[in-house]
Structures are given as C-alpha cells and as structure tokens.
Symmetry: C2
Subunit: 202 residues, 2 copies
DNA sequence: CGAACCGTTGAGACTATTCAACACGTGTGG
DNA sequence: CCACACGTGTTGAATAGTCTCAACGGTTCG
C-alpha cells in the first residue's frame, strides 16, 4: 500500500476497514506502531514529513478517500482553523503512540495485552463500532505480536491465561470482555490520553 | 515543572540545558518518552492537546522561553506557513517517538542502548553540541533505565559490556564513541527518520 | 488431496529482573 | 574536623519472564 522511503505525499481518510502502520526491521521482523480504524487518517505524517518513515498496510479490505498534499496546503492558507484541527489530530496520534511506548517499556505481557484491547475497544466505541461487551476484530495473533513486541507463541499463552482467568476472550474475530472492571484494574487503564474533545486553540 | 493532568497551555523553547518528558505510572515507575536538548520545544503537544498527557522535568539547569497558546494562535492566523512549520516539528517529534517505540518493541538491551546513544549524538550534532568522537551527557544510569525500559542494574551491565567490547564508554558525564561504524552496525542505525530538511508543504 | 495459514502446546535456553551487598564521592550537621 | 546520610555506580546470585525450536490439529482453498 504505502511503503517506507517512498516520498508519498498523500494521506487518506479511512472510511471502512482497518490498516496498520509499522516499521520493517532489517532483521525481517516488524514493529506495528498503530492500527487505524474507520475515521482515522493513515499517512497524515507522511504528508508533512519528507519521507514516509513507516509503512502502511491494509489489514482488511479498505475503503478510503485520498487527501493530496496540495489540497491540504490550500486549506491551510484559507482556513487556519483547519490547520489547527489537523495539528490536533496529529497530536492525538502522538498521544496514542506515547501510550503504546509506555506499554512496551513498562508493562508485562498481560498488562500490554489488556491495555491494548481496552484501548481498541474505546476507540471503536467512539466511532460506534463497539458495544460494551466486546467488538469484532479482524486482527490475527501475529498482528498482536508485532504490535506488542512479543512472540506469536507468547501472545497465544497470554490470551489463554486471560481467557482462563475470566478477563477476556479473543477468538474467531471477536473480542469479548467478561470482566471489564477487573481487566481495567489489571493494567491501570485510564482513558485520559484519548481526550475526545476538540482542539484547545479556537 | 510541568505535570500530567494540569491543563497547561504553554510550550517552551529550550535555550540551554536538558529536560525529559515522561509518563508516571501508578506502580511508581516512569517511562521516559524523550529527552529535549537545546533548540527543542518541550510541551508543544500540551498546547494543542487538552490535558498535558505527560510530564516534563528538568534534567539540568535550564534556560527557556515561554510560548503562550494565544500567541501561537495569532501566528497561525497571520502566517499559515508557520503553522506548517509547527506541524512539521510535531511530526518530527512523533517520528522520534516511533523510533523509540521500535527500540522498545523489537531490539535487545544492547541494541537499544546503542541506538539511543547514537540518536542522541546525532541530534546534538545538528545543534552543534557534539563532535564525532563523543559528547557531554548529563544523564544518569537511571535516566537510561527509564528511557529504555530496563532496570538500572541491567543498564549498568549493558554499559559494561559495550565498554569492554570497545564500542562506547558512558562515564562521568561524557559519552565517547570508540568504534562508531561497528556500533552503528550493532543496532542497524539509520538516520533517515531524523530528516533534517524543511517541511514538504511550502 | 495437498498446501498454506493459523492457532495451540511442551521443553529448554536465554534475557532481564529482583534482592542484596558494597564502594565511592559529596554535602551537611554536630 | 569527623561522622553520617545520600545518591550513584558496581557486582553476584537466584528468580521470573519471554523466546526459540519443534511438533501437531484445524480450516480454507486451490
């Protein structure tokens, strides 16, 4: 879809489907930076920053609208408030990356998994794609592995433990929360960083 | 200095000294997201995003100029090219966070350390604070631990191994590269993500 | 029917952590 | 001036967490 190193000057608005943004490593592995769900703007950073410093790949079939760099430029000149809104969106992205960073740096495998699933549920909730009990999830265990910095084998074990302990199940494309409160406690989940409100500047 | 949760609507231009941006964890630990060196803009995101989603702390004595949110807003209206430049700076920050994320997710302790020291050297080089053989560094081993997601004890062992293997020394406030090429090979260091050039939009 | 992908499980090896102890330098109060 | 606490760096030993390798079952699809 969109690969590292290409000077690609388009972003997209994702209407349907999921994508992942990741960095490929010389060793052959990859680190997934984030998943995009409907409503997100994959590739936003590549419009502003010279080289796409990471790649984007479709996880499911995708329906997206292109935003060309030149369009963005015009809008910026004519409607500075939109510039602000875009900057806000970029900041929100970065906040999520930061949370992901904390996830990898200072949490155990179980906590990472719990936090990841809760964040995903919360984000899907904001765009109406998740109920309180669970959500449909097209990801594979190896997606989780690349996102959480774990081996696929260990992802499997962690999921098993969370399932056997009655926290959450991840099976056949569906995530079901069985004890949301206890799960949130497990990883000290706090949604503050998702900050759904509008930009500060107006 | 600037703490999480406070709705602080100022950013700073750091003139002299170092700061760190980090997230404190309920468990008592903390994950350092980045260090800021002279020329950086600590707190930029907190201007645009409602709550400061992470904290900033001085590492050394610091000299900084404040940028108020209202000023930024005026500049945005009157000079959209500056809006672009700010967005570019934010994108660069995010690119570094992403690289840090990869560091934590998919590299061993030695690779992390090597990559971290090389990145720091590169950044300091861009602002004239580093030579090719090494640089002055006010960080403690526990700073490295919080940044790299390692225990302080392990940081010490890793530094010892890198020193004994002739890669690099980190002692008494000074980093000395003894075999830059081999060190870059160790962690596959690639500066592309630092992308020193100006914004794409113009 | 076979190939490919995905999920599952076990065993053993390796990495990093925790706990504990000690050395060294610095600043402080008696 | 000495005694002491404190921060920092260093090292060892035991432990916990995660990885790798290997094997196997189920599904889907050609």
């Amino acid at each position: 879809m969109l690969y590292e190193g290409e000077a690609h000057s388009s972003a997209f608005i994702l209407r349907k489907g999921w994508t992942s943004s990741f960095k490929a490593l010389p060793s052959g592995g990859q680190q997934i930076v984030d998943f995009q769900i409907p409503g997100d703007l994959p590739g936003l950073r590549s419009v502003l920053y010279r080289a796409a410093d990471h790649s984007i790949e479709a996880v499911t079939l995708v329906e997206a609208a292109e935003i060309r760099a030149s369009d963005l430029q015009n809008v910026f000149s004519e409607a500075p408030r939109i510039a602000t809104a875009v900057l806000w969106a970029a900041s929100r992205d970065e906040a999520m990356v930061v949370e992901h960073l904390v996830n990898l740096g200072r949490r155990s495998a179980e906590e990472r998994m719990a936090h990841f699933l809760l964040e995903l549920g919360e984000r899907l909730n904001l765009v109406g794609l998740s109920g309180t009990t669970g959500f449909d999830c097209p990801l594979r265990q190896y997606h989780l592995a690349d996102a959480l910095g774990l081996s696929p084998v260990h992802v499997n074990r962690v999921l098993r433990r969370l399932r056997e302990d009655g926290f959450v199940t991840f099976q056949k494309g569906r995530v079901e929360f069985h004890d949301l409160a206890r799960l949130k406690g497990l990883c000290k989940f706090d949604t503050a960083y998702l900050d759904q409100k509008e930009p500060l500047l107006r």
